[in-house]
């Protein structure tokens, strides 16, 4: 099996030959293509994709607008709240269902079906039920993200080696002890994969929730800019979303690196690790 551990060997790498040079090199290429399409050939209409300059110019205007900080804070609160709620529920359900094969057989299809309902369909019903406040948005983000955590928890908890389980049993460990001392530690690397994915879907869930019946947030702001044909500002917010996605991802990656030091194998996202 693959040993995809974090590369800890202090091999001096030439930074100029590291992949991240290519990452950086791609940036001007993307910018050039964008500039070419919107400014030189003018074949993409500015109302759909503004020029790079106009987006650059719009940045200070959008970021400096009255109450912009509040909108960002609101969206981040929704993401954090939704993620916390969704991930806890997902984890709890994962633990619950992993403890009984009967429960698993009975409820897994229901929970999977829930995953298949797009939250936008539920949005009007959720709003009708708990109102237009931030609670409804948090709930939508939570619904969007619980499944990823739930399903990875469930599969991660099944990963403990039968021998290790037998050993725990022979040591008269209780079910609870087996869970806390063996199953959860084994599952954590996988669960973190689920948390990564869950964070992503929580971000999407929160933003999309702001498209319908919202009183604030970046998604709301985005709609307002679009309705006044301010496409440059619309794209400024798209770039902010990209930044939020990256920051959230790196945060979880960092936490994982710090705390799951025993991580061994079965990493679901080795693409993110140094090889």
């Amino acid at each position: 099996m693959a040993q995809i551990a974090v590369d800890s060997s202090p091999k001096k790498k030439n930074f100029l030959r590291s992949p991240y040079m290519l990452t950086i090199a791609l940036l001007p290429i993307i910018l050039a293509a964008w500039w070419l399409a919107t400014t030189v050939t003018k074949s993409v209409p500015a109302i759909l994709l503004p020029t790079p300059e106009s987006v650059w110019i719009a940045f200070p205007r959008v970021l400096g607008a009255d109450g912009f900080g509040d909108q960002v804070l609101r969206t981040l609160t929704e993401i954090a709240g939704g993620f916390a709620l969704g991930a806890s529920v997902g984890f709890f359900l994962g633990v619950l269902l992993s403890s009984s094969s009967r429960l698993r057989a009975a409820y897994l299809p229901f929970l999977s079906a829930l995953e298949a309902i797009p939250t936008v369909i539920l949005a009007p019903i959720i709003i009708a039920w708990i109102g237009f406040g931030i609670e409804g948005k948090i709930l939508q983000a939570a619904i969007a993200c619980f499944y990823a955590v739930f399903i990875t928890t469930l599969s991660g908890l099944g990963l403990a080696e039968p021998n290790a389980v037998a050993l725990m049993k022979s040591l008269r460990a209780s079910k609870w002890q087996t869970m806390v001392k063996l199953r959860i530690p084994t599952a954590l690397p996988v669960i973190f994969g689920g948390l990564q994915l869950g964070a992503t879907t929580a971000i999407i869930g929160a933003i999309v929730s702001e498209f319908i019946g919202a009183t604030g947030g970046l998604g709301y702001l985005m709609l307002r800019y679009r309705s006044s044909f301010d496409t440059a500002a619309y794209w400024v917010i798209i770039f902010l979303f990209l930044v939020i996605g990256l920051v959230v991802y790196l945060t979880i990656w960092y936490i994982e690196k710090r705390f799951v030091f025993w991580r061994r194998i079965e990493v679901t996202r080795p693409d993110l690790e140094k090889q």
């Binding site: 991240y20 040079m21 797009p118 971000i203 999407i204 985005m222 979303f241 996605g245």
Partner: protein, 281 residues
């Protein structure tokens, strides 16, 4: 033409005195499912009648069933169903093909993989529906734009899982292949691909679900050329909630069906994975 005789029922050997159907029923999980469904239906039927919630917004189960029958009688909804499902099928096929290609192109080289990853992460958390105006501008008003949106949403897990899967064989296995003078192509087809397939199938399955939700989201939030998503939006704006819940129920049934189909395909394609795993142990 003569009618063929019904196939003879094979004579069963006398049943061994195993568990009765009742014991099997109690030992299985079916009763949990049935009880759960019954509780949900009972709650759905009686809770709206308590007056605690607005009856217009939360119709009872029987009212919803009546609406469901009305919908099925309408006929037009078949059209919307076909539009949604064909968009899902096309998006899924393209998404899987695209994701797999990307995974192979980038997954066989750790260098490329690492270089592209930051972009992938940033784009992954973006609600793709914000790109709808651009996609409509590019692809027109037909179903193409919503298919494109669903492709962008659903190719992702296939891509990631292909990349990850191709990296799964251990360094020793690669060395062994090399010592046998296997070509790059042979390493890919004989070692990497077989070990990656179970993982890729997980992505393919996930992609099906994402293609489905992607199409519906596009239908609700942007120009869409009809479909079930548009239908729910229309019924919601009419406050015809029985019909809304009917369509949502159809969406749920469809998604369960799709997932089951994907499960079957997965078992067929990667039949060896359990075996090989067992052998390795």
């Amino acid at each position: 033409m003569t009618t063929t005789a019904p196939p003879p029922t094979p004579a069963r050997s006398a049943p061994t005195p195993g568990p009765t159907w009742w014991e099997r029923f109690r030992g299985g999980s079916a009763w949990i499912v049935i009880t759960t469904v019954a509780v949900i239906i009972a709650f759905w039927e009686f809770f709206p009648q308590t007056g605690l919630v607005n009856r217009v917004l939360f119709p009872t189960f029987s009212e919803t069933v009546a609406a469901f029958v009305q919908l099925l009688g309408g006929g037009y909804w078949w059209d919307d169903l076909a539009k949604t499902m064909s968009a899902v099928a096309i998006a899924w096929v393209i998404g899987v093909a695209f994701g797999f290609t990307m995974g192979v192109v980038l997954g066989t080289s750790p260098f490329m993989r690492q270089a592209i990853t930051p972009y992938a992460i940033a784009v992954q958390a973006l609600p793709k529906v914000v790109l709808a105006p651009l996609l409509i501008g590019w692809l027109g008003f037909g179903p193409e734009s919503k298919i494109a949106l669903a492709v962008i949403i659903c190719f992702f897990p296939v891509w990631i899982d292909t990349m990850v899967g191709l990296a799964l064989p251990s360094a020793n296995e690669f060395k062994l292949m090399k010592s046998l003078k296997a070509s790059r192509w042979q390493v890919f087809t004989k070692l990497q691909l077989p070990s990656a397939l179970p993982m890729i199938m997980v992505g393919v399955k996930h992609a099906l679900l994402l293609a489905f939700t992607g199409v519906i989201v596009a239908e609700i939030l942007s120009a869409s050329d009809g479909g079930l998503g548009k239908l729910t939006k229309e019924f919601a704006s009419q406050l015809n909630m029985g019909l809304v819940y009917s369509v949502v129920t159809i969406v749920v049934i469809l998604s369960i069906t799709l997932v089951s189909i994907a499960d079957v395909i997965e078992r067929r394609v990667v039949f060896w994975s359990e075996e090989s795993r067992a052998r390795r142990k």
